[in-house]
């Protein structure tokens, strides 16, 4: 068995970083996956109640939010190409748009939930428990938990993107060391992926 001399340089392995991020994404998929299991069982057991409850949600806002996230996925994907092309200005510009779109999504969510609260619908509310059937209670319980957990991930994603943006501006994230931005992008696409499933399952039940 031979030996080679060891290089002692700071350890930067882009592929390792990417693999690590994908593995983390798998855990997030299974985290939401658990909730999708719960949803699928209860929808199977309460098809009519779920449909009725689904009508209470505003399809238009849901669709707008879907489009918003899809566009933001495009902008952050484009930003990774821009970084590779060493176009720092465009990279920053695209990231700013992504962040703004995320904020709009959250504002929409805030109003959506606000409308529900005004109607007396929130987890464990009297109106929910006393006046609605069991299937509807489950629907709204799942609605708040799943969109709430998703919104939490939007916030986390925004923070990650802001950190990446900051480092792009400083130059520490660049075409030779793009991992942080690429991984931020992966995380953001994950958030988009989850919504791609949430939207039809909650807003498009007919």
């Amino acid at each position: 068995m031979e030996h080679v001399t060891q290089h002692s340089e700071p350890h930067y392995d882009q592929e390792a970083s990417k693999l690590g991020m994908w593995l983390f994404i798998f855990t997030e998929l299974l985290l939401f996956g658990g909730l999708f299991i719960v949803y699928s069982i209860y929808r199977f057991l309460n098809p009519v109640a779920f449909e009725m409850a689904g009508h209470e949600l505003n399809m238009t806002i849901g669709a707008i939010n879907t489009i918003i996230l899809l566009v933001s996925s495009m902008t952050i994907a484009m930003s990774t190409s821009a970084l590779q092309k060493k176009d720092k200005k465009l990279t920053v510009y695209l990231l700013v748009i992504t962040i703004i779109l995320a904020i709009v999504f959250l504002i929409n969510k805030y109003f959506e939930w606000g409308v529900k609260f005004d109607h007396g619908i929130w987890p464990g509310s009297e109106h929910l428990i006393n006046d609605m059937g069991k299937g509807e209670i489950l629907f709204f319980g799942l609605y708040f938990v799943m969109t709430g957990l998703h919104a939490l991930h939007i916030i986390i994603g925004m923070i990650v993107i802001i950190v990446a943006l900051n480092k792009v501006q400083k130059g520490t994230v660049n075409a030779d060391r793009p991992s942080l931005l690429e991984n931020a992008g992966l995380y953001w696409h994950l958030v988009d992926l989850i919504w791609i499933f949430l939207f039809p399952l909650f807003y498009l039940i007919h």
Partner: protein, 537 residues
Amino acid sequence: MQTAVQIPHDVSYLDYKGKYRGIFSWIFSTDHKRIGLLYMYSMMSLFLVGVMLGLAMKLELIAPGRTIMGPQAYNAVFTVHGVIMIFMIVIPGLPAVFGNFMLPIMIGAKDVAFPKLNLLSWYIYVLGALLVISSVLFGNGIPDTGWTFYAPYSFKTGTNLLPAIFGAFVLGFSSILTGLNFIVTIHRMRCPGMTWFKMPLFPWTLYGTAWIQLLATPVVGITLVLVALERIFGIGVFDPALGGDPILYQHLFWIYSHPAVYVMILPAMGAISEIIPTFSQKHIFGYKAIIASTLAIAFVGYFVWGHHMFTSGMSGTAQYTFSILTFIVAIPSAIKVFNWISTMHQGSINPDIPFLWAVTFIFVFMIGGFSGLVLGALATNVYVHDTAFVVAHFHFIVFGGVGFAFFGAIHYWFPKMFGRMYDKVWAKVGWAFFTIGFLTLYSPMFYLGMMGMPRRYYDYLPEFHAANILSTLGSWVMTFGLLIIIINLFRSARNGAIAPMNPWNGKTLEWTVPSPPPVENFDEVPVYGEKDGPYEY
């Protein structure tokens, strides 16, 4: 960008003086070897707490009726015992201690892929443990649901469940990050020439385990979150009054907790797969078959969870599907046992301490495994479910499996880790008392379960008295053995004879570095040639 710090190659990781001094040089260290030891010391402390809770239960059960505690206290004791032993000891188990310490060395690397994340994993572990302990010390009462937190009681109980649930969630995060780190390490940091099929078997089991940690743990994470939300808001997911199904809780819980037992046992089997070839001075029999079995167990193990739920009210279709899959998952484990025995056949056996542990591992693991077949068959399961039989089964297979493998591993790798050899006479005495005590403690429970003694009860019918006395005596003998083992190791770490680089004539890479290893493990990166490989005797 930082410049690389020149780390001397002739200073052991124990003696190395870096940026920090004293205790901080340990708790701020990103050296995988020190992190492995940090896990070991914290786990050992928690283990002793868990052992005392177990002894308390056995003392209560030494006679029918109330002995030292009433039913509420007993429920709390078995709950905390389970939470500590499962989430803080056997799940982190061998990966946290020996995976951290040995994996990089065994694949020719100087550390794991993400050393800072590794340290963070330990911090998260400690935080989770503290959260669970806080549920015991503060609040309205010690959790009494059992470590399984079954709905609906888990959202109805007045005891202090939220910190315990939150603690378990946090501990899960630690497990996930360790798994993530190990997968990337194994993919990216094997030394030149070490192809996948030249990697030793312990890293292979760590790899399979890491995937389970990654994919299964989040499911219990979200389930515990749902229980917490049920307690706080009453969302209804598990509450029949609001339309929920408590059996769905059981599904979600066991979708993690069954694969979790493979997290526990696969690295244990990996350690045995290292010990046996070394102490038979022979190449492992069926290297690829063992790898295939490892991956098969990891994969099929995802789909058998319902065997914990046969009497819950599941459909018949689900029942027999889970039963068939359970029998299938037993096959790869059997293959491993055959391969271990075949390795020993016509080998040059060195019956030293690690080998003794490995052989008794196989013995108790098989008893645990066979009893698992009884539980996996529907008709017999109905009879022994929720009895002492189940308690015997999982202690044989989990404590017997992980415990014996852990002791085998620590006696195998101790000279490498500390540069000293332990006293072998005391080690043998400890092993003997532990094994005899273990068998005496748990074997009567098979009988008691078949005779109808329920589990998780602080009391029992008078006809179960004699067997219970025997069992409790066994717990004292076992604990005595445990103390001998631990004290021997502690003393030998300081005063034992200086150990050579390769005391057992092992053929894997850890035996080519000094005992104890320098900080960056290797002076020069090893390169595997055509003819090189693990277990080449």
